[in-house]
Symmetry: C2
Subunit: 405 residues, 2 copies
């Protein structure tokens, strides 16, 4: 059945690597009407592909990324890269998403900041960055903007759409929006509607950004802006991607004395541009509340710090808002929403994921079944929280490999 | 057995109110050596009492408050008070903590900001607020500073110590520190050691404060300071006090359009002193990411806003640090830590509490039992999260009433 069955196969026991890859840009010069009614005069999507489109043009697998992800999901950009793409463990020759068999694609979402059109892009009407003049975007806007791109590449059908978290939202939206185009959906660690708690966490992150003087109404220089607010937002969000048990196993209560003044506020050298903390330097002794620090604290600060060097604060506002807005059922039922779906689907929940808990994933599969669709639900036991979908998991690999065949 | 058995009883079906109360100050002029080794030349504890100490001086029940609580746990301060003390539903004539029977006491913790000595208090050495020169405090420091106060009142034994969350930590510490003094312990929604996840959330809140330019090394005017950072810290913490299910039930995804520019950043009138957001005003339209707002967002911003009007940011740093430091077992076992305990105990966990989950509460009771102590564990079904211990609960009332008799 699989059109790529005649392609060479790597031995499963020794999966290879995608290797060196380079991104490309899809540029649409046609206007794009967002769900909000606002119109972009055109847009760019930065993307990567791995493997080759077959003659029938139907062996394509679309990967959809999560909030802080991008188009670079496998391979390396240069031989000196320390880290490969974010889903490199899943994608490659002989891996579950087998680039010998499939033509794998991934694009940075619209509203993003890694090369696709977003608030940091130049507004042709002003010659300056859009900032908050960029239209609000939805998960459906992400999907529709990618459809135009796939058409331009000559893809006639998607063998599968695969995503976790916000990527899973896109995968479900794909199956509803383009039913004849999508044959399989793998959605993991996701939800059919963002919960009040999810919105609440996103809102705290947004307020940290909006209330940072550096935000300046969304008008800030590319390397500047609300760096403190964005770091705070990321630190908090990062906790929601992990789990109590996982953090206890990894960090526990390991701590060490702080000898430099207020070192716990300025431990990361790159944080030196952060305001506020400098006022403590030179006080001579660590303040009473900060004579030691826990390893988990250092780790979190590092997460916040590295995020602000790669992410745009306005994009963070826009993309979290797209997530908040996501509600497939709307005023109706989820079964009704899934009525057009033709794809078969694999929905995967992770026991320790408390951001998009197993029940929310199971509810998706149940609604698909009630709507008369082919759907399976798998629940994997992990203590790694929401991020489980990104991590080494032979169980997950077997599920995905089997489902894609 | 109960020394207060001869006191008049209100009918249980019609519990009365404590009524008008006024706080008092205990002032110790003796030096107080903190666990850190740092010495306070003296300290003040602001407290309230309800009911009367009996002739045997052993009908006292000490209430210990949580992170954002204070000494005002029952009654009202004036007839125009809209809200009574924070545990008024539990404490009063004929209520589970029956002020006809018991002499109920509660003090603001050391390091706090509601009248007890803390970073906002005047440092006699400088004539200015301590700020970060205040010694770091621990849960044990809170307990030891309160012991001196109880002695000054002539209390010879505690019929019970009762607390939830950080109050539960103090209650457990009381039983270890003063075994002959404490007859009963009720600890709810608490833990014997702060987990890595708990430390992580506290650290995000602290960083939001420390990185706010208004923090200024801890040196700020009483009504000023890092108001934005403190509001962000509180908004985030508030989510951890609730639950996914509870928030969905209370707020769901209810939303409304935003018509005023960037209203979602400045919805609370009192937030007008917040920096950053003002830059959006006058932009003419709501930005693309903010054309509507969810009710949960408005609610959270209100929580942040009202907190900064009643809490000191430096105290927030100190008290969260005391919580992080809390680890009864330390390098040993929890059974060993509980070895001195003479009190019998009731430990209560709440199913939807994910900040101090049921298992962490059950582990306390199990360790007490393994150490040969009398201890009971009760787990109450709620969907209200960590804050369940503060809320109306006939089940909890029955447990507490029965245990205290």
């Amino acid at each position: 059945m699989n059109d790529a069955d005649d392609l060479p196969l790597s031995p499963v026991s020794e999966p290879g690597e995608v290797g060196l890859v380079a991104p490309s840009d899809f540029v649409s010069k046609e206007p794009f009407v967002c769900d909000s009614g606002q119109v972009l005069p055109g847009y760019t999507l930065r993307y990567e592909t791995y493997g080759r489109l077959n003659a029938a043009r139907d062996n394509a697998i679309l990967i959809c990324h999560a909030l802080s992800g991008d188009h670079h999901c496998a391979g390396i950009h240069s031989l000196s890269d320390r880290k490969p793409g974010w889903w490199n463990n899943l994608i490659g020759p002989g891996k579950p998403v087998d680039t010998h068999r499939y033509f794998v694609l991934c694009a940075n979402v619209i509203g993003g900041c890694q090369g696709s059109s977003g608030p940091a892009s130049i507004n042709p009407a002003t010659g300056r960055a859009y900032g908050i003049a960029f239209p609000g975007v939805t998960i459906r806007d992400m999907v529709r903007s990618q459809y135009r791109w796939l058409q331009s590449l000559g893809v006639t059908a998607l063998h599968a759409v695969i995503g976790g978290s916000m990527g899973g939202m896109q995968a479900l939206q794909w199956a509803i929006e383009y039913p004849g185009f999508v044959r399989r959906v793998v959605a993991m660690a996701t939800t059919a509607r963002e919960s009040a708690q999810g919105i609440a966490f996103n809102e705290v992150g947004r307020q940290a950004i909006l209330q940072d003087p550096g935000w300046n109404g969304g008008d800030y220089p590319r390397q500047g802006g609300p760096r403190v607010g964005l770091a705070i937002a990321r630190m908090m969000a990062h906790i929601t991607y992990l789990s109590d048990a996982g953090l206890d196993r990894k960090f526990g209560r390991r701590r060490r004395a702080v000898t430099t003044p207020a070192a716990n506020a300025t431990a990361e050298p790159a944080a030196s541009d952060a305001t506020g903390a400098s006022a403590v330097e030179g006080a001579g002794t660590a303040p009473g509340f900060a004579s030691f620090e826990f390893e988990i604290e250092r780790y979190l600060r590092h997460q916040g710090q590295s995020f602000i060097n790669r992410f745009d604060a306005n994009s963070y506002l826009y993309i979290t808002r797209a997530i908040d807005s996501f509600d497939l059922a709307g005023e109706g039922s989820l079964e009704q929403a899934f009525a057009p779906v033709q794809a078969e689907s694999l929905i995967v929940g992770f026991t320790s994921d408390w951001l998009f808990p197993p029940e929310q994933n199971r509810d998706i599969a149940l609604a698909l079944l009630r709507a008369g669709k082919r759907s399976s639900y798998a629940e994997l036991n992990t203590d790694l929280g929401h991020d489980s979908f990104l991590l080494e998991s032979p169980q997950l690999y077997d599920l995905v490999r089997g489902f894609l065949r």
